[in-house]
């Protein structure tokens, strides 16, 4: 379409102010000239005549402006009224013509509504997570600050050590600073211990966020400073556990075996940062036995009015080097970093892989658009006669295009309304199947202006994508010819067939891409379920006890409890063997030394290993499959791992003796190649002592997700003995001659006896972790497969429609062929071949596009190349067969064509 045509269609004013000014100037100049000529004729000199003629105008330029202003008001109003008038007319016309074609209308609206519903429901999740305003006072000025030591990749935003805190307080960009500490505690409701999240807050916290108590009172400064045994409970706990009891204030709450007095209920929905249920005072000094260096707090800070985030970041960067004055070794290169918001909404826990989901949604909508475009082409052909009549009555082509676009707008608007309603039903239903406590408190799925804007934008896009090309094709015709043939034949229907094929090719290509994506995921899933992890994971019961959190300040106690469970299990019938395994936390202190405090979360050291004290041979980049485990003697036996050389742990590996390590076969190979590792030493970060290798054991594998997809390589694994090292969050593993369930039940019983306050994790077997990881892939696979299925269905409908339409358009031609003696078989083959030509074009384009796009899916794939030949083969087969059937069925109609009737058809 020409620029002019577009402008006319969109009703953009032709005259700019410059044009109007020139117009008026010319008009006035004419007057002056005429006046002057007359004055000259009366005997005035030329100069005087012009001067007099101009004088009579007064101020010419202001007069000009006055006239231009009048004209502009005119233009604007006129154009606007015209637009409204035409649009209303067009809409009325559209509704009338839709009523005449209910099948077409319903098909188009439902198809588009489906696409819009899918995309909108995905977007509403996206919207809720990424754009919802945080419901805190002055949330737009509150940032989070963290301290980064060493070169860790990720920054934990709940970690500024108490020693570093005064340096942060020096920063002048912030009006106010508040510290908090997250924790997990056991809470007794009746006899059932429950693990809850706690938040210890300082005096600045509640005022900064303007928090209020729904009941009772907010933690008061004197209670916080005096470290009183008081707590507030979340609104959720109050409602669910106390039945919204108005007399809850003053009741006792058992947190970690200690009684706290409930002083209030927090304002509804406040569970910062993540599902917090109990709020307590923050100790202002490190716990006994630990220093300000290893006591971390989270920091939120409020920017001074007018201070930008960039300025604050700069200031923190300037302050950072001063941290070295605390401890030049520990704080070397330490940085204070800032996050723009107090919460991290981008963290995967809220919405994994939003891009993939949104992308899939956009894709489905585009497929729906392509499908409806195909329908529109067919319709444009059928209406060629009507268009030609209107054109002959003097309608501009731009008017006809606008008419078609208005029809599209009417359709897509109807689809948008329907789609939005459907989207919210989808969201409501899917929320039903999701754990609602998996969402943060500020997460509200609701129709807001952003979603409505989104839907509006989508609708506009759909209108243009769907309408523009058929509108152009449908109004480009040879007037005389079209009118002569009665509007059913001629050029325009040919071009409509071509156009509808083009739409179908696009649609097919995109369906193929979705299908490839779905198939890759399914294949990945199939491969994942057949991974050999090196031990019979589903036959080993696993119990992860969260021991009485009062003990968590003492890793010795939790380790001893875990050992007690294993010891008691050994004397219990029904349990074959049991063992303890936990992540390495630290070496046991030699007797007499002061134990260190254990942080709530285990620290992971995954940096490097140094063999034989030779740093030049150190191996780094060990993550993510690098593991440091602390295990009991029976561990290898329980898992069925063979000691390949050397020995298992034993009595000789007592605390204070040289640290013994058993390493995996892969570790041995990585560190020493073909040399015998027994008796050699290795050093790992976080442990000062050299570890002496006493044994080499079979590899184990885990499914590990990463940037380049899932993998299950036998990683480097180092085991230390529970005799010499302490474990963070130990788990109990057990086998049973009877059944896994029996083994688990027995271990749970024993655990309850050892620690009545222990909360038992949900894991049942060693395969549980693995299954959780599979869940992500399964959800994705499910969504993509569903989308691919609908895309395939749409493709079938599309192919069928286009072939049927083509046959109908060529009825006469076919009739002639039959009359001239062509066999129906031959004609059938001719039509099918013709149809398959564009089907294979779409298939080809789709496959090529898939090859380039499927790489983006690698993150979800395990052991499947994005170019997996089986997947591509299957896609070609499925689409080929489907296309063949969808072509053949409508094409078969030609065999029933009676040449006599066909020739008379027009």
């Amino acid at each position: 379409m020409s620029i002019l045509g577009i402008r006319r269609a969109l009703s953009i004013p032709r005259f700019t102010r410059r044009h109007l000014e020139r117009d008026v100037e010319e008009e006035l100049a004419f007057h002056i000239v005429r006046r002057a000529e007359k004055l000259c004729a009366n005997g005035m000199s030329r100069e005087d005549a012009y001067a007099e003629a101009t004088r009579r105008f007064g101020n010419v330029s202001s007069l000009r402006n006055e006239c231009v202003d009048i004209d502009r008001g005119d233009l604007r109003r006129e154009r606007f009224m015209d637009l409204i008038e035409h649009t209303i007319g067009d809409l009325r016309f559209a509704v009338r013509s839709f009523r005449r074609a209910p099948g077409f209308t319903a098909a188009a609206i439902i198809t588009l509504a489906g696409g819009i519903a899918m995309l909108t429901s995905i977007f509403s999740f996206f919207n809720a997570v990424y754009y919802a305003r945080l419901p805190y006072h002055d949330a737009d000025r509150i940032v989070a600050i963290s301290e980064q030591r060493g070169s860790h990749g990720s920054v934990d935003f709940s970690s500024v050590s108490l020693d570093a805190l005064p340096f942060v307080r020096d920063a002048r960009s912030f009006e106010r600073l508040s510290a908090y500490q997250q924790g997990g505690s056991t809470l007794m409701f009746g006899t059932e211990p429950q693990l809850i999240r706690t938040l210890a807050i300082d005096t600045a916290f509640a005022p900064m966020l303007a928090l209020r108590a729904e009941l009772g009172h907010m933690l008061a400064p004197d209670e916080i400073i005096g470290n009183a045994r008081v707590a507030m409970i979340s609104d959720l706990v109050w409602r669910n556990r106390y039945g919204a009891d108005p007399l809850v204030v003053g009741k006792q709450l058992l947190v970690n075996d200690r009684a706290f007095t409930i002083i209030g209920v927090m304002q509804p929905g406040f569970r910062f940062p993540w599902q917090t249920d109990v709020f307590t005072p923050l100790r202002q000094t490190p716990d006994s036995g630990s220093t300000g260096r290893d006591t971390d707090v989270g920091i939120i800070a409020k920017l001074r009015p007018g201070v930008s985030r960039a300025v604050a970041k700069n200031e923190l960067a300037v302050i950072s080097p001063r941290l070295a004055s605390i401890d030049s070794k520990l704080y070397r290169g330490a940085q204070l970093v800032m996050r723009d918001e107090m919460l991290d909404r981008r963290s995967g826990q809220f919405l994994p892989q939003p891009g993939l989901f949104l992308g899939a949604g956009v894709f489905l909508l585009l497929i729906a658009c392509a499908n409806v475009t195909t329908l529109f082409y067919v319709r444009a052909a059928q209406r060629a006669g009507e268009m030609a009549v209107r054109a002959s009555l003097g309608a501009w082509r731009s008017r006809l295009i606008r008419q078609t676009l208005t029809e599209c707008l009417a359709l897509s608007s109807a689809a948008a309304v329907l789609g939005t309603v459907a989207a919210f039903i989808i969201v409501k239903v899917s929320l039903h199947f999701m754990p609602t406590n998996g969402f943060p408190s500020w997460f509200h799925l609701a129709v807001d202006t952003r979603i409505l804007l989104f839907v509006t934008a989508v609708t506009a896009l759909v209108t243009i994508v769907v309408g523009l090309s058929p509108a152009r094709e449908g109004t480009r015709f040879d007037l005389v010819k079209t009118l002569k043939t009665g509007g059913d034949g001629g050029m325009s229907s040919r071009s409509a067939v071509r156009g509808s094929k083009r739409g179908l090719v696009i649609q097919l290509a995109m369906s193929v891409m979705l299908f490839v994506g779905g198939a890759l995921l399914l294949r990945s899933l199939q491969r994942m379920t057949s991974i050999d992890v090196g031990y019979p994971a589903e036959r080993i019961a696993m119990v992860i006890p969260f021991f009485n959190s009062a003990w968590s300040s003492d890793a010795e106690k939790t380790s001893r409890a875990a050992q007690d469970i294993v010891d008691q299990a050994a004397q219990t019938g029904g349990i074959g063997a049991s063992a303890v395994r936990g992540f390495f936390y630290k070496l046991r202190e030699t007797p007499g030394a002061i134990p260190k405090r254990v942080p709530a979360e285990p620290r992971r050291f995954r940096m490097r290993l140094i063999p034989d004290g030779d740093t030049t041979r150190a191996i780094g980049n060990l993550s993510p499959s690098y593991r440091q485990y602390v295990v009991s003697d029976s561990y290898f036996n329980v898992l069925g791992l063979k000691i390949r050389s050397g020995r298992n742990f034993g009595f000789q590996d007592a605390a204070g003796m040289s640290v013994a390590g058993v390493i995996s076969a892969t570790a041995a190979k990585e560190l020493w190649g073909s040399m015998n590792p027994i008796g050699r030493t290795v050093q790992m970060d976080g442990v000062d002592e050299q570890i002496t290798v006493v044994g080499v054991v079979d590899d184990i594998r885990d499914l590990v997700g990463g940037r380049r997809g899932f993998h299950a390589d036998p990683g480097v694994t180092i085991y230390l003995s529970t005799r010499q090292a302490l474990a963070a969050s130990p788990s109990i593993l057990a086998t049973s001659p009877v059944s896994v369930a029996a083994a688990r039940a027995a271990i749970v019983d024993i655990t309850r006896r050892v620690d009545p306050l222990a909360v038992i994790g949900r894991e049942t077997t060693m395969a549980s972790d693995f299954e959780l990881q599979l869940l992500v892939v399964k959800v994705f696979g499910g969504v993509i497969a569903a989308l691919a299925g609908s895309a395939l269905l749409l493709s079938i409908v599309g192919i069928y429609g286009v072939v049927a339409f083509g046959v109908a358009q060529r009825t006469r031609e076919i009739g002639i062929r039959i009359a001239l003696g062509g066999s129906t078989q031959e004609i059938l083959r001719w039509i099918t071949t013709d149809a398959l030509r564009f089907v294979s074009l779409g298939l080809g384009i789709g496959l090529i596009a898939s090859v380039s796009v499927s790489r983006l899916m690698r993150i979800l794939l395990y052991n499947v190349s994005p170019l997996d030949p089986v997947v591509y083969g299957a896609v070609i087969l499925v689409f080929g067969v489907v296309a063949l059937v969808a072509c053949y069925l409508p094409a078969r109609r030609v065999t029933r064509i009676d040449p006599l009737i066909a020739l008379r058809a027009e």
């Binding site: 008026v24 010319e26 008009e27 004419f30 007057h31 007064g58 101020n59 006055e66 009048i70």
Partner: protein, 115 residues
Amino acid sequence: MADTELSIFRESLDLLILKSLTLGPKHGYAVAEWIEHATKTVLLVDEGTLYPGLHRLARRRLIEAEWGLSENNRRAKYYAITQAGRAKLRTHAPIWHRYAEGIAGALRMTDPETA
């Protein structure tokens, strides 16, 4: 405008313009001349009010503008009266007659006291 000349109100100017165009399309200069001529040069039309008047009438669709060639072959903007313009003239001319006659009659009246 000089004191001796009568200033004409916008409303009456509109009517005069419409009236001038009933005799055929004219450009702005011709409209001004016609008015001066028709009012026996009692009314000298001020260009500063004539052109805004023309544009206002065009905006209200009482007249239409179109570019054309003048008698001596120059480009000029011609105005023509529309159906709406004729209707306006028909309804408003009598009102103006009554108004003008009323004022004139009142001013002609001899004051009994000074007579």
